[in-house]
Amino acid sequence: MAFSHKHLIDITEYSADDLMLILETAKRFKEVNERRIKKVPTLKGFTIVNMFNEPSTRTRSSFEIAEKRLSADSLNFGGSSTSTVKGESLVDTVMTLCSYKIDLIVVRDKHAGVPRKIADVSGVSVIDAGDGKHQHPTQALLDLYAIWEKKGGFDNLHVGVVGDIGHSRVCGSLVPALKTMGCEVTLIAPPTLLPARPDVLGADHVSCHIDEVLPELDVVYMLRIQRERLEGAPYPSLREYNRLYGLTREREHLMKPDACICHPGPINRGVELDSYMADHPERSIILDQVYAGVLVRMAALYLLLGGSNDGLDA
């Protein structure tokens, strides 16, 4: 099986075979992660920069663990301590990093399109760890992995994504990836939280009534709702949001017996998700998603750095 990608920036560039290869590879890394010595020497000598220009704890720590378990050297770059605050341009910053002879940049930025820009400027492999409201491909991969493990496949799965879809980079990657894998996708949100053209993401259906859709769903993907100021907010109050769109204990009877619950974290308990549902022993796969994050990131790093050198093999 061939893998010819150098970057993981736009999940729509990945075929179903590409995505399956990543999931299969992630499964191999699961064995590594369950040993006492959870580390392999594969990426010894590779230097990876985690360029997080926006605060992130979960994604960054997941990448860091993945890099360490592959024996790569990693440098955390970003946050308030760096040049962006000093007024240096993105291009100059990237050129500076490249002078260190690095092999891959993992980038999180609040502006859409930055990973592509970095790829064009730097010439090294780039993984998008979330860019603005655009995409977050490794999140989509870990979601796919968790769903794949729970459901055993993607055929005939109907996935409902509930919440702030219009401002969600998670959706920007997840919805196209689910479509690539052959799932049926329904977006469920108040109209104020929908993108201008849900069909462009690939969604099959859009609904404002979670109770009508819930009985159809095999996977219920709850998005985090931003606890923003109420002035200008796209919904009047958190309690009204919870009543109209929250996955509450009272709604469980509407779910299929084997329907599972996903959430990208961190959870706003009592807003989009009741604690009962978030911790549901049979349904919730939220912690499996977190674990899968390390596995798919190891797989992506392994395949991208190997794949980027494909062709040297004489």
Partner: protein
């Protein structure tokens, strides 16, 4: 891919391989004074099948079922960049290797790099009491200080030849063949993926 190579000669046929495996099984038992505390770990993709066969023979001879595992060394290779094959096989060692005498099993011993990787992988999994090496063919050209404890057959080969084991279950025929590798072609036995991903 096989069609790029020309078969030069068959150095072991099915019967010969069968006899060699039987001999190795006896030697393992003799050297270790039985099958107690013994475990077999085959290196994918070929060594795992040979290990399975050895386990069956040991059971026939000694009546003991030794633990059997398989090891994928993709994450331990030192030629990750130049010989990247994206398809990773699974490592399956469902027993505790701590304190055991592990017999690593591979098809062809060549440079020794695969065994080096396998030893590293094994050490990351646990702490065996001892590790021994069984190979069907030793073709020479070692690049590392590694030698086999059990050898089916020593096959002198030239550096630009490939010595390869074919097995009925995967390849339709069982034999060890010497093949000519065209200039620039890949020499060595691993990794061999389903689609000839080399």
């Amino acid at each position: 891919m096989t069609d790029e190579r020309t078969v030069k000669s068959i150095c072991m046929d099915e019967a010969e391989i069968e006899r060699a495996m039987t001999r190795i099984a006896h030697q393992i038992l003799e050297f270790n004074k039985g099958a107690e505390n013994l475990a077999l770990v085959g290196i994918v993709t070929r060594g795992d099948l040979l290990a399975k066969e050895l386990a069956e023979k040991i059971k026939e001879i000694e009546g003991i079922e030794v633990p059997l595992g398989k090891l994928d060394i993709s994450f331990y290779r030192d030629d990750y960049l130049t010989h990247f094959a994206p398809e990773v096989h699974s490592t399956d060692i469902l027993f505790d290797i701590d304190g055991k005498t592990i017999v690593l099993v591979d098809d062809v011993l060549f440079t020794g790099r695969t065994i080096r990787a396998a030893l590293d992988a094994l050490m990351d999994i646990g702490r065996p009491a001892a590790v021994q090496l069984a190979v069907l063919v030793d073709r020479g050209h070692r690049e590392l200080p590694i030698r086999a404890d059990y050898v089916g057959k020593n096959v002198p080969s030239s550096h630009n030849e490939s010595v390869r084991l074919f097995l009925k279950d995967i390849d339709g025929t069982t034999a060890v063949e010497i093949l000519d590798v065209p200039e620039g072609g890949r020499i060595g036995s691993a990794p061999l993926s389903k689609n000839g991903g080399e």
